[in-house]
Symmetry: C2
Subunit: 285 residues, 2 copies
Amino acid sequence: MRTPAQNARLALLLEVAGTPKPGNVDRRRDLADLRFEHFLAGTVGAEEGLEMAQNGDSVGDAFERAVEGMASQGGGNTQFGALLLLVPLVRATADGERLSPSTVESVVEETTVADAAGFYRAFDHVDVFVADPPTEMEPLDVRRGSDAVPALEDRGLTLLDVMDRSVPGDDVAREWVTGFERSFAAADRLVEAEGPATDRAASVFLSLLAERPDTLVANRHDEDVARKVSDRAATLFERDALETDPDAVETFAEDLVERGINPGTTADVTAAGLYIALERGGLEV
Amino acid sequence: MRTPAQNARLALLLEVAGTPKPGNVDRRRDLADLRFEHFLAGTVGAEEGLEMAQNGDSVGDAFERAVEGMASQGGGNTQFGALLLLVPLVRATADGERLSPSTVESVVEETTVADAAGFYRAFDHVDVFVADPPTEMEPLDVRRGSDAVPALEDRGLTLLDVMDRSVPGDDVAREWVTGFERSFAAADRLVEAEGPATDRAASVFLSLLAERPDTLVANRHDEDVARKVSDRAATLFERDALETDPDAVETFAEDLVERGINPGTTADVTAAGLYIALERGGLEV
């Protein structure tokens, strides 16, 4: 029997092993400076933060620790967004509760200003790509890291408040305010799918990319690029190309890598779905 | 900073990710019923046993727990031999000592009959391929698992005694009686090699296979098969085929998989070498 924190680790490993996951590092594909092994080391580094969440530590402290450990490898940011989903999802099991949308909603609703401060401190440990904030939010730009904590405390914002202000434009934050809707939907699809867990991860990744443009792609490139990537994923998903025409998916994957387009938010939601499916049962490895 | 137990986990992950590792599961290759994801889950399952070794628990208890957890996945035995090397290598750091051939020799020399009993109990948790023992050792056939413990206690054999009686014919046991000679040599080669850690793992795997026939292959098939595999690895290694002719190594890999030849002992020593190189420094990820 794996613990929730162990299921979270396995979810991170299965996510990166799933292939093809167009545009991202996967079992078959490295990027120039971001390699598969960095995700393996990132997972090992995140162990302690995930244990903290499981043991009932605050979401902010557990997240900061997980990110600090994750960043102890040479590839830079590997799993920041995935951990921002996994930490509350693991924390939701800390009081012996069964993981559900309502237990994780309670966790995020109970976050405090101190949790928000932990989230900001996490940015001190690693460079994360984020879009420019609107002018009135500039003092709270996450890239300020711990320097933004006084402004955060002045405004009395909890971590859920911070996430709420990041929607739209960040589909990891969106999970926080929607009861982790897409993460649970992804878990259902992972359970219903067939075959090895890594094949299921690839299929569910494509389904998620098909249904909503990736917000990391939209922020790094623009919304038009993100929408076109999503449309192409939808075309492939609708004709079940992973089964019927795997070369077409590989071509899509190569093309995204060449253009430096990495649908990282979609990978984050896939990791969250893998964790939920492992933790609630139905996905066996 | 990773702990020794964390370095052991990362070593298991890097070992299976190294590709090509002819005949074995690797980042690019699954076997029919033994897949990459089983090794990921096996690594997560082994966590607690490795923590026990790090915290100074006995080698036998830590090993049994590591194997029990490792076996909690659907692929069967993934990392039994690797854990039989990693547990004493992690245990060697428990008293704040720097890992070296002499500290790990002390660990194996101090093993007891109780440690041997833990080793035998580990066989209750998973099917491991082993050769038939000589007649006088039949009551101590490891496949008897915990049923053999009374015979073990009658004879007063420590775990090091058991390993000593398994040489020749088992190159994991050989490490125990040679101060982990090949494991430390593999670590040196991993440090001296260039490129990503997973590429280094593949290169060192090939060098180890080239220098000694794999004992798992010899036991499952015969010594002639094992020697021919090793000779072919030597030819490829001598002409630096991973760099100069990667297709030739891929062909070798495909051929071994087709013939059901898995040099698992060589993979075990590779994992031990990765751990040593991570723990002593010189191999960065």
